[in-house]
């Protein structure tokens, strides 16, 4: 159920955009370095990024269990925190999907509609809105296999789902292919995460399976410093 966001109106220069940084709760608490890398990456592009300090959680844990009553306060707070930003960017597919696809039980006020249409996953933002052509500062001389999350693929349309026929596309891959030295390795057996893990570990020492594309993305395009910082984490 990929949904489309609204592209930004007219000639707005990305640098003039007021960007809100949406930090999913688990990244804040467990993977803060992904958050830092996301922020630093956006800053590299000269964007003006703000992190609203009152944010907590998008409501996904409750909402995914169908508990709309207890999800509502978190959802309202998200809308309140981000309603004044032109773009809201978060480095996690399922959390962005939660806002975009599942804020449907709130009253669809202008503010709610605005945040639903303008919340982007980092890869989407770089690929679709910023239309990044290169990462001139980045170099990552390693083989890389991509694992996009289900929410990113089928919820946000970041890559062509394997079930759907037609020309393949993969926005994460398109971006990573612009990083100097990085070699994309096909992942031919989606059945076997173990096979992937083995391939990862044998070819690139610091890698571990199960990384969301964005987390990987931020690490690799930020360059070796961030990379090593990121690897300390796992």
């Amino acid at each position: 159920m990929a949904t489309l966001t609204k592209s930004l109106s007219g000639e707005t220069s990305p640098k003039a955009l007021k960007i809100g940084l949406f930090m999913p709760c688990y990244i804040d608490l467990v993977y803060p370095k992904v958050g830092i890398a996301t922020l630093e990456l956006l800053e590299r592009f000269g964007l003006s990024v703000h992190y609203p300090l009152n944010q907590t959680c998008c409501g996904q844990p409750m909402s995914n269990s169908g508990d709309q009553v207890n999800a509502e306060a978190a959802e309202r707070l998200y809308v309140e925190n981000f309603k004044d930003y032109d773009c809201i960017i978060g480095p996690a597919g399922s959390c962005v999907k939660q806002v975009r696809c599942h804020y449907d039980t709130l009253d669809q006020t202008d503010d709610v509609t605005h945040v639903r249409e303008h919340t982007y996953e980092l890869v989407e933002f770089l690929h679709d809105i910023l239309k990044v052509e290169s990462f001139p500062w980045a170099e990552f001389p390693h083989p890389v296999a991509i694992h996009n999350s289900c929410s990113s693929v089928r919820g946000l349309g970041i890559a062509k789902p394997s079930e759907i026929m037609g020309a393949p596309f993969n926005k994460t891959e398109a971006l990573l292919s612009k990083v100097k030295g990085l070699v994309l390795v096909p992942w031919t057996d989606p059945m076997s995460a173990v096979a992937l893990a083995v391939r990862f570990v044998s070819q690139t020492k610091p890698c571990r399976p199960g990384w969301a594309s964005t987390r990987f993305m931020t690490s690799s395009v930020m360059g070796p410093n961030t990379w090593s910082r990121r690897t300390c984490l796992v």
Partner: protein
Amino acid sequence: MSTQPVDPAANASLFILQDNIHEPMHDRFLWTIRQRRDHQAMAMPEWEELRELASKIKEHTLTHLDQYLEEFESNATKRGAQVYWARDAAEHNEIVHSILEAHGVQELIKSKSMLQEECGMTPYLEKRGITVVESDLGETIQQLDGQPPSHITMPAVHKTRQDVARLFARSIGTDPKNDDPHYLTEAMRNNARPRFLAAGAGMTGGNFAIAETGTFVVCTNEGNADIGAAVPPLHIASIGIEKMIPRVEDMGVFHRLLTRSAVGESSTQYTSHFSGPRKGGELHIVLVDNGRSRRLGLAEFWHSLKCIRCGACMNTCPVYRRSGGLAYGATYPGPIGVILDPTFDEFKYSELPYHSSLCGSCSEVCPVKIDISDQILKWRRVMASKGYLPLAKRLSFAVAGHVFGHPEESHAAEKAAGPVLGHTPHFLLYNRSLNPWGRDRELPEVAKQTFREWYLANRAQDNAAQ
């Protein structure tokens, strides 16, 4: 209403933990089928167009169902069939029984039908002294083992060859050490054939019912429906009212999608169109509602009626492949079952919508584009609103719902979470009854400094300027 909801997670762990053979075999086999389906679909440039067309035809038919049903009845009657209307399972079973009784039939041969399964027809008839012989091999295996089908098109897919060899040795006296599929199939064929020939009536389901001609279409790979329809003088077909399609030419769309989606083959081995009784025979068609018209009235769930029962959603589902179909404890297992079963009994099947990772593969693989994954989430909303969430979830969500709505409390809790998680004894965090999800998992470690803390220390001046 039943007193205890089905517990699919507990049932699934029985399947997974029984040995290290069944679950991996099941998982790999069904994934192979999914891959075969991909190859078939890939070979057809118009695949996505066909799915869209199939979805539109079904939506159109379902929104004009009254007209098409009457058109079907009138055309089938013109061709000499007798058409009956059954409001529910009980009426269906009574109608079938009365037809058999009127013809003095003692033994019935039937081909696998999910609708007859749904109506509990076999036990109903057997209680009334009628012997019901199943003609589908997989279904026969399940019947011999006293189990319902675990998959809607491959009823015994959770069993290994060795399981079948042991079962046949027990039930029809084959060599328990011989698990050669040809040997076992031949043995069952020889065992069943005389009973097929002796049956007084044959029963089938119907994959599609064509309003324009009053014809119904039955697709099998074993030709078993055909022997039931062709040998005994009496043919009874049970057909769900959602099986209608308007025209013969629409079959072109569904026929191309059905088998490719189901098993990754271009067509079923046998696709039979039944238009009226054969010479000297009788044809009785029972059109069954059994909750379908009520489902048609459910704004969020009526699309589930588009289902053509191919089972592609099961083959692709990571949860189904690892759980086995019996874990769902319902007529319809897998993703489609998760959204159909609660329409029969919300409480009994209240746990089924949680037996999903919401990965969305089912919706994308579905040949008639049912939004299965979205409907699973919507069923969770129904279950939560009725208070069917487990106590632990209800309590923790009430707390989380409040805390996440109040940033100051949330950030205080976050500060506390690190040390608390760090010091909570392992046996408490991973207690089986307190946290069943903790069983085969470890919590990730909480970072020493949260992103928010880092931001306050390194970028706070930016925020002040906001």
